[in-house]
C-alpha cells in the first residue's frame, strides 16, 4: 500500500514545470518507438517488418504466437522460401511456403504457388476466386528470422482489448509519476 500512497503523493505534488518534463519524456518514448518501427521498415524494405503467426498452418515450424522477421529485397522469389502475402479481398496477410515458381524470360515477372506446411493441399482455395498464381505485388516479404512465443502479447491484446487499456493506462501512469 505504501507504494500506491507514494504514487498518489507524487501526482499531488506535481507542478507545472514537472508536468511539461513528464509530457516531453512521454512524447520521447512514443516517438522513439515510432522511429524504431519506421527505421525497421526502411532497413528491411517490407511494409511490416515483423509479423505474428496467427494460424497453425505452418506447424510444427511456426506455431500461433510466434514472431517472424521479414525482409523484402530485390532478390527473386524462389521455391522453399516462406513468404507473407496479401490476397485481394482478404485483410489478414498469410504466411506460407512457396512450392512452385515460374519466372518469365523477358519481363522477369513471377508466378508463384504457395502451401502451408501443415495443410493438405496448395493455397489455390485461399486465393481470390479464379486466381491460380501469386504475383510479385501480392508478396509483402520473406521470413528470415524467428522468435517463439513473443507474439502472444499482441494476440492477447487484440483479443482482449481491456488488457491493452489497463496496460497502456498503467504505463502512462508510471511515466507521469516517475521522478527523476
Amino acid at each position: 500500500m505504501g507504494w500506491i500512497r507514494e504514487q498518489i503523493d507524487s501526482i499531488k505534488s506535481l507542478n507545472f514545470r514537472q508536468l511539461v518534463t513528464q509530457a516531453v519524456s512521454l512524447g520521447m518514448i512514443v516517438t522513439s518507438a515510432l522511429i524504431i518501427w519506421k527505421g525497421l521498415m526502411c532497413i528491411t524494405g517490407s511494409e511490416s517488418p515483423v509479423v505474428v503467426v496467427l494460424s497453425g498452418s505452418m506447424e510444427p515450424g511456426f506455431k500461433r504466437g510466434d514472431i517472424l522477421f521479414l525482409h523484402m529485397s530485390k532478390d527473386p522469389i524462389r521455391a522453399g522460401e516462406i513468404v507473407v502475402f496479401n490476397v485481394d479481398g482478404r485483410e489478414i496477410p498469410i504466411v506460407h511456403r512457396v512450392i512452385k515458381v515460374h519466372e518469365r524470360q523477358d519481363t522477369g515477372e513471377v508466378d508463384v504457388l504457395t502451401k502451408g506446411d501443415n495443410n493438405f493441399g496448395d493455397d489455390r482455395l485461399l486465393y481470390a476466386h479464379g486466381q491460380l498464381w501469386l504475383q510479385r505485388h501480392h508478396i509483402m516479404g520473406r521470413a528470415v528470422g524467428f522468435l517463439p512465443y513473443v507474439g502472444w502479447v499482441t494476440i492477447i491484446m487484440t483479443e482482449k482489448p481491456i488488457i491493452k487499456y489497463i496496460l497502456i493506462g498503467a504505463l502512462g501512469l508510471l511515466v507521469i509519476t516517475s521522478k527523476e
Binding site: P60, G80, I99, K100, H102, F146
Partner: protein
C-alpha cells in the same frame, strides 16, 4: 529509490536483456556449424506423361530419394524442412521450379532417410515444353531454428531427361485411386471409369453423354478398357495425340 516499482523494473529489464542475449548467442552459434549433407535421387519410372486438355504438359514420376542431412542439426535446430524440386528452363520462362516432394524432419535421428514415392505435387509445365526436356532435380533444405536466423541451402543434381513422347499409364504402375488429372476417388468402379475416360477423352463430356444415354458406369469402363488394350497392342510408343482420336 529502492521502491517496489524500481526493483521490479530493474529485474524485468535484466531478465529480458539476458534472454535476448541468449537467443542471439544461440542463433549466432549456428554459424560455427559447417554442414556436409549428401543426397541421391533416381527417377525409377515415368508413370505417365500427357498433355492436359488445357494444353499444359503433365508428367507423373516415381522417385527414389535418399539423403543424409544429419550434419544440419545443431542444438538450436527445431526442424529441417526438405523438398525436392524439378528445375528447368523453357523459351517462355527463364526458371521453372516445381516442388515434387517435401517432408519435415523433426530430429537428427530421422535425418538419414530413404523414400520411394510418386510425386506428391503435380508436375505441370506452363505450356507444352516437357517432351525431351533436360531438367535438374534439386534437394533444398530449410533449417528452422528454435530461435533466430533461418538457414537454407541446396544440392543440385543434373542430368535428368524426360522422354520424347507422351505415354500412358499402364494401369498397374499407378497408385490406385489417384486420377491422372489429380484428385482421388474412393470407389474402385468410379475410379476405373474416371481414370480411363479422363485419360482418353479429356472432355469429360463424353462420359457424361454416355451416362446420359443410360449406359452403366461399368459398361463405359469396359468399353474404355477395350480401347486401351487395342491401343497397347498396336504400339507401345503411340503418343497421346495419335491415340486420342481413336475414341
Amino acid at each position: 529509490m529502492h521502491s517496489f516499482g524500481y526493483r521490479a523494473n530493474a529485474f524485468l529489464t535484466f531478465a529480458i536483456t539476458i534472454l535476448a542475449l541468449m537467443c542471439a548467442m544461440a542463433s549466432l552459434s549456428d554459424n560455427f556449424n559447417s554442414p556436409s549433407p549428401t543426397s541421391q535421387v533416381q527417377v525409377l519410372n515415368i508413370n505417365w506423361f500427357q498433355k492436359k486438355p488445357d494444353g499444359d504438359d503433365e508428367v507423373s514420376l516415381t522417385l527414389n530419394i535418399s539423403a543424409n542431412l544429419q550434419s544440419l542439426f545443431t542444438w538450436n535446430t527445431k526442424q529441417v524442412f526438405v523438398f525436392l524440386a524439378a528445375e528447368y528452363e523453357t523459351p517462355k520462362n527463364s526458371l521453372n521450379q516445381v516442388s515434387l516432394w517435401d517432408g519435415i524432419i523433426p530430429s537428427k535421428e530421422h535425418a538419414q532417410f530413404w523414400i520411394h514415392t510418386t510425386n506428391k505435387y503435380r508436375f505441370i509445365d506452363q505450356g507444352s515444353n516437357l517432351r525431351g526436356k533436360d531438367f535438374n532435380l534439386t534437394l533444398h533444405w530449410h533449417v528452422m531454428p528454435k530461435t533466430g536466423k533461418m538457414f537454407a541451402d541446396k544440392i543440385v543434381m543434373s542430368g535428368y531427361r524426360l522422354p520424347e513422347a507422351y505415354s500412358f499409364a499402364t494401369a498397374l504402375s499407378l497408385h490406385p485411386y489417384t486420377l491422372p488429372t489429380g484428385g482421388e476417388v474412393a470407389n474402385k468402379d468410379e475410379f476405373d471409369v474416371l481414370f480411363l475416360i479422363r485419360l482418353f477423352c479429356p472432355q469429360l463430356e463424353m462420359y457424361r453423354q454416355f451416362r446420359g444415354l443410360g449406359f452403366r458406369a461399368g459398361f463405359i469402363s469396359k468399353l474404355a478398357i477395350n480401347v486401351l488394350y487395342k491401343i497397347q497392342k498396336q504400339s507401345h510408343a503411340l503418343t497421346a495425340e495419335e491415340a486420342m482420336p481413336e475414341l
